[in-house]
Amino acid sequence: MLFSDIVTPELFASAVRLATPIALAAVGASICERSGVVNIAMEGLMLIAAFSGTAVALLTGSTWLGVIGAVLASLIFASLHAWASVNLRSDQVISGTAINILALGITGYLMETIFGRPGTTESVQTIPPVFDFPSGGEGFLGEAWHWINTVVFSYTPIVYFGMFAAVFLTWALYRTRWGLRLRSLGEHPRAADTMGVNVSAGRWFAILVSGFMSGLAGANLTLEQVGSFTEGMTNGRGFIALAAMIFGRWVPGGGYLASLLFGFAEALQLKLQIFGDLIIVPRQFFLALPYLLTVIVLAGVVGRATAPAAIGKPYKSKA
């Protein structure tokens, strides 16, 4: 096993790809939590989106309709969370947990009802990469181009959208009137309300943004990466996204960068499995690596990061 066998441009590209579902959810979550609403439902939203995306793509034959189906399904369940946490003033963690458990049940139920069997669906045509440049030639220049081509130009559309969303939403959060108002909802909703900001509408919108991003995360997972749906396939990514968002200090761009760390751990894990025979460490250790990393990241960072002041508290207007 050589260093150059492991550290290849493909490793970095694979890190970005594997980070994308986590990053999309983390970026959405930072908007949601900035408005003062905890969203632990991303795991479920992603799962529902992954299933709906695959189902729509299989039934219509169009992968892009699948993406739309994934986002719509996630938005519907995000609305449920919004209704519970904004209008009914439920405990947001409990409402999120309910959605996570519902998601497991509904996807399993529909799996058996629509496709007649549990487990995994048939495969769909995955979305191809946006660019298709020829690979480089010989020599140093060719090698350099190979790196750039692989690390920068090898991705599918939703991966690029995730990068765009991270930059755009960071800008919007700090440089627009909308961003200022959104942050005020999470810090001091009463003051925002007094100033004429509609707390309920602002929080609804923020939760829907999170639903939209989680929907894309599910679509990316099935329609761009795996190509089929398996029950429970999100495997904790929604929770890892939550940790990434905290690590990124509730800033969309920060959440994106933190997700890259998890993506890298996963890419490395997959790569090292190939060399499994040469390493004494058991395979399960590598599989557990992203979760271990989450715990380590939280242990190192949480004390220094501060959540929005009004996070998780239902708001009741006095008007």
Binding site: V93, L104, G105, G236, F239, L298
Partner: protein, 383 residues
């Protein structure tokens, strides 16, 4: 028009106060009634939503629920199956409920359960040869310790740096499952192709209730049920009569006030989450000792998560947990019959669970509905 001079100002004041008191008492009674009604209404709504899903799939919900009831309470054997499935849920329900009482959401009971199960399987095999009265307590202690140990790091992280237990206990569930799968694959494995631990000797197994009390018709329910009921009483007693429980409730109710009152939030958090983990570990132990007699990868499919629904439905009341666990045990026991006879996917059970959690969490739905009904009734009275 009565003469105002009939009443002194004091009398008027007193009457007004009495009326206010009565009003406040009424309000309190209504709130209590709603609180008691919520679980029942939640279950009803969940059942209705389940029916709608079955109708949408072209299935007959009445036949499905009838089959489910037959499969869960239709006879001694079925009731035994229901109690068998309720047993681990009593423990995971207690685990989650105790956490909630201390203001902690132990979403990772599933992982603690696996570790408890592993400890039970390991100690259960190692104590072969010891008499029953020694081996069973040893296994129970080991499983409780393993569950508590698996909750300890998340507890420490919550207490010292405020890392949210929902993320950390969830991560520890994944880590725990991979850890267990590594142990039973490479280190503690029975002969044969399937990765599983060796079988427990008979002295480490919990006997069936129908074997102990021979007048009961044979069924699969085992003495773990009795342990579960004892655990529920113990948790109730801890919460009500011990300092440990008082501090947990105080911190769960109002951490700032508790700290001012001299209770250490950090230490209470650690103790409470570890006790919660210990209870979840016991769930793994009863499954190993009473049902499977060994541990394998798929030995729990979400018993820890079902515990959340059980705790919420029971409103975190330890005795209520027993009833809620029996309800979910029944759902789970009847699901097979339902699938067989009415051709409805068993997964409908987790949908019902999810809806129940959602509804109990959104108590305001019930408050709102009750207020609506009262309004309408008030209008009717006026007419």
């Amino acid at each position: 028009m009565p003469d105002p001079s009939d009443k002194t100002i004091e009398q008027i004041e007193q009457e007004r106060e009495a009326a206010e008191r009565k009003n406040a008492l009424d309000q309190q009674r209504i709130r209590r009634a709603i609180s008691i009604a919520t679980p029942f209404i939640s279950v009803a709504i969940a059942v209705i939503i389940g029916s709608l899903l079955m109708l949408a799939a072209g299935k007959d919900p009445v036949a499905a629920y009838a089959a489910m009831f037959k499969g869960s309470f239709g006879g001694t054997r079925q009731i035994g199956e229901t109690l068998l499935r309720a047993t681990p849920l009593i423990f995971t329900g207690l685990a989650v409920a105790y956490g909630f009482r201390a203001g902690l959401f132990n979403i990772g009971a599933e992982g603690q359960l696996f570790l408890g199960g592993l400890a039970a399987a390991f100690v259960g095999v190692k104590v072969a040869g010891l008499p029953w009265a020694l081996s069973i307590p040893l296994i129970i202690v080991a499983a409780a310790l393993a569950g508590a140990a698996w909750a300890f790091i998340p507890a420490l992280m919550k207490a010292k740096i405020g890392a949210h237990e929902v993320i950390t206990t969830m991560m520890f569930t994944y880590i725990g499952r991979y850890f267990v799968s590594w142990i039973i694959l490479d280190h503690f494995r029975a002969e044969g192709a399937i990765p599983q631990t060796p079988m427990l000797p008979e002295t480490s197994q919990l006997p069936r209730i129908s074997d102990v009390f021979t007048f009961v018709e044979p069924n699969r329910a085992h003495l773990g049920l009795v342990l579960g009921i004892l655990a529920a009483v113990l948790v109730w007693w801890i919460l009500k009569y011990t300092t440990l429980g008082f501090e947990a409730r105080a911190v769960g109710f109002n951490p700032t006030a508790s700290e001012t009152g001299g209770i250490s939030i950090a230490s209470t958090t650690i103790k409470s989450l570890c006790l919660s983990g210990a209870l979840a570990g016991l769930a793994g132990a009863v499954e190993v000792m009473g049902v499977h007699f060994r541990l394998f990868d798929q030995f729990s499919l979400g018993l820890g998560f079902a515990g959340i629904a059980v705790a919420l439905l029971a409103k975190n009341n330890p005795i209520g947990v027993i009833a809620a666990a029996i309800l979910f045990g029944g759902l789970s026991a009847g699901a097979g019959t339902m699938q067989l006879e009415a051709d409805v996917s068993q997964k409908v059970i987790s949908i019902i669970q999810g809806v129940i959690i959602f509804m109990v969490g959104a108590e305001t739905i019930v408050t709102w509905t009750v207020a609506r009904i009262r309004d309408r009734k008030g209008d009717a009275d006026a007419v």
